[in-house]
């Protein structure tokens, strides 16, 4: 995959305060890249830097093939940003809002109309296009703001907390939209506090606190920090001899009882699990479920970020 965003010791200071401290990032084309960090970690400042809204104090960055500081208008034309607040013109209709922004992104009149229609339909707002945005719910405004960010088909879409405050239905629409963007080869840079959402959507995640602490695939990170575990639920309940059978299988690192299940840790579950199941069945156990046990991303996040708090 091509690299669509690269930073080299990118730093932003406001007087004595170091908001972003020499970050090195590489984001690949077509991936959903999660950006996680506590409040005040400098996520919004990083987003503003990468969207050429503010200038760095030192370091450099290349965004969508353009150099930060030298090609700022080209960067802004190549990226879309969903800010923390929807920031829509409330007295104007959904249609007027999108046409205005399409014009500011240099789209022709016919392109502006077709793009506005496309995104209003995609977000389920087409029927209400002539109504003032002030009459919209929080979720509808957020969807409008996402439509505005994507209107000019940017190569990278920066989304700052896109589902915060949305009802489950609206949040699902937004998540489906992100998946659709990835399907089109578009890159999404996702700032979120919703760890479940990050886990479901992101190909890779950066843990951030003024500087990037770690970038990894969430599943690889889990495996590295916690090992890979399998949960086996037996009927009516596991017996001590079942645990002994499991422990005897080659490749099993650890096995224990937990809430009526056997939790098995192994280096290579794909190889070990079929042998485990065979051993249990041959030993007379009745298997109800075999599931992969994933530590929640919250645990991973806390393990990485909390020591720095």
């Amino acid at each position: 995959m091509n690299t669509v965003l690269r930073t080299d010791k990118l730093t932003k200071r406001f007087g004595e305060l170091v908001a972003v401290d020499g970050i090195d990032l590489e984001v690949r084309e077509g991936e959903v890249f999660g950006f996680l960090g506590p409040n005040g970690a400098g996520k919004t400042t990083t987003l503003r830097l990468l969207c050429a809204l503010i200038g760095p104090t030192s370091g450099s960055a290349e965004v969508a093939g353009f150099r930060l500081g030298r090609d700022d208008p080209k960067i802004r034309a190549s990226v879309g940003i969903l800010t923390e607040q929807p920031g829509l013109y409330e007295r104007q209709s959904a249609w007027e809002n999108l046409i205005f922004y399409a014009t500011l992104y240099g789209l022709t009149s016919s392109e502006a109309s077709s793009q506005a229609e496309r995104y209003l339909r995609l977000m389920g707002l087409w029927e209400r296009r002539t109504e003032p945005v002030a009459t919209f719910s929080r979720g509808m405004k957020q969807k409008m703001a996402i439509a505005r960010a994507a209107l000019h088909e940017p190569r990278i879409l920066f989304l700052d907390e896109p589902t915060t405050g949305l009802d489950p239905d609206a949040a699902k629409t937004v998540r489906e939209f992100i998946v659709q963007l990835r399907g089109q080869g578009r890159t999404v840079f996702l700032c979120t506090h919703n760890l479940d959402e990050a886990d479901r959507l992101c190909d890779r995640i950066a843990f951030f606190r003024r500087n990037v602490i770690r970038i990894a695939d969430p599943d690889e990170l889990r495996a590295e920090l916690y090992g890979r575990a399998t949960e086996i639920r037996l009927l009516p309940s596991p017996r001590p001899e079942d645990l002994a059978l499991v422990r005897a299988v080659p490749g099993v690192r650890e096995a224990r009882f937990e809430n009526g299940s056997i939790i098995v840790a192994s280096a290579d579950p794909l190889r070990t699990n079929p042998q485990l199941i065979r051993a249990l069945i041959e030993g007379g156990a009745q298997i109800a479920f075999v599931t992969e046990r994933k530590p929640h991303l919250e645990d991973v996040y806390l393990k990485i970020v909390e020591p720095l708090e």
Binding site: I54, G87, Y89, Q92, Y101, Y105
Partner: protein, 271 residues
């Protein structure tokens, strides 16, 4: 991937888009429409009524003596004509208040409105240059204010002609006042707009901004009083000098507004 290629729009396209959006927004704000139309309507109606009243009622001897003392140039004129000419001129000075008051309100709403609605960040995230954006915003407040002032002047001129006073007609169509309306009104409007933008960068409350910005009327009122009381004589040369001075001040204030209206300032320092 789509064939759409985003880029900075051409300046006329940007100006048109910003103006149309701001005017739509302004028309939806009844308070702003009222505050825009009230000063010209009041000044125009009062001016026409005053000139009309002077045409109907003969002035007293005391009024005439006071007028001759304040305006020696009127000494040879018929007393009724002289009073009408004097009143017509006085209201022309008040017309010069319109381009200081009306655009100030519009410019303040234009910036503080965007600040409070948090619409500036998405706007600044577009490829548009902030200088172009500031220029477009300035024009969006300047054009309607100038048009309103010119329209009010046209109605005033027509009314004065209809009332049939030669002195009043001569006063209203004097070259210095034509210069004032055609040249100084746009210059005063631009000054007021850019002062409004400058003030709005530091203030979040429309009323506070208006109170500070209201100080821009003080020099105009002072000049008016000085002329009415005969302390200064505003001849053609004085108007030309004032126009040149306004051009210099306009350039300086626009430059200051441009310095304040920077992406990073707006996003990080404006509160």
């Amino acid at each position: 991937m789509s064939a759409i290629v985003a880029a900075s729009p051409a300046r006329p396209t940007l100006v048109r888009a910003v103006c149309v959006r701001e005017w739509r927004e302004a028309l939806g704000n009844k308070l702003l429409v009222g505050m825009t139309l009230l000063p010209p309507v009041v000044i125009l109606a009062t001016g026409v009524l005053a000139v009309g009243a002077a045409a109907i009622n003969p002035p007293s001897e005391r009024d005439v003596q006071a007028l001759y003392a304040a305006a020696p140039a009127a000494a040879g004129l018929d007393p009724k004509e002289a009073v009408q000419g004097f009143i017509a001129t006085y209201f022309l000075i008040l017309f010069m208040l319109i381009p200081t008051v009306v655009p100030l309100t519009m410019a303040i709403y234009s910036v503080i409105g965007e600040k409070s609605a948090r619409t500036l960040e998405p706007l600044l995230a577009t490829p548009v240059g902030v200088g172009d954006l500031l220029f477009a915003k300035s024009l969006a407040s300047t054009v309607p204010s100038v048009l309103v002032t010119w329209l009010a002047y046209a109605i005033y001129l027509t009314s004065v002609i209809a009332l049939g006073s030669h002195a009043a007609q001569n006063a209203v169509t004097a070259p210095r006042w034509i210069l004032a309306i055609v040249v100084m009104v746009p210059l005063l409007t631009l000054l007021s707009v850019n002062l409004g933008i400058l003030i709005s960068t530091r203030v979040n409350d429309v009323r506070v901004a208006q109170q500070i910005g209201g100080l821009v009327v003080v020099p105009v009122v002072a000049l008016g009083i000085a002329q009415v009381t005969g302390r200064v004589v505003l001849d053609n040369g004085a108007f030309l000098q004032m126009s040149a001075f306004l051009i210099v001040v306009d350039v300086a204030v626009f430059w200051l507004a441009k310095v304040a209206f920077q992406r990073e300032n707006i996003l990080v320092r404006w509160r």
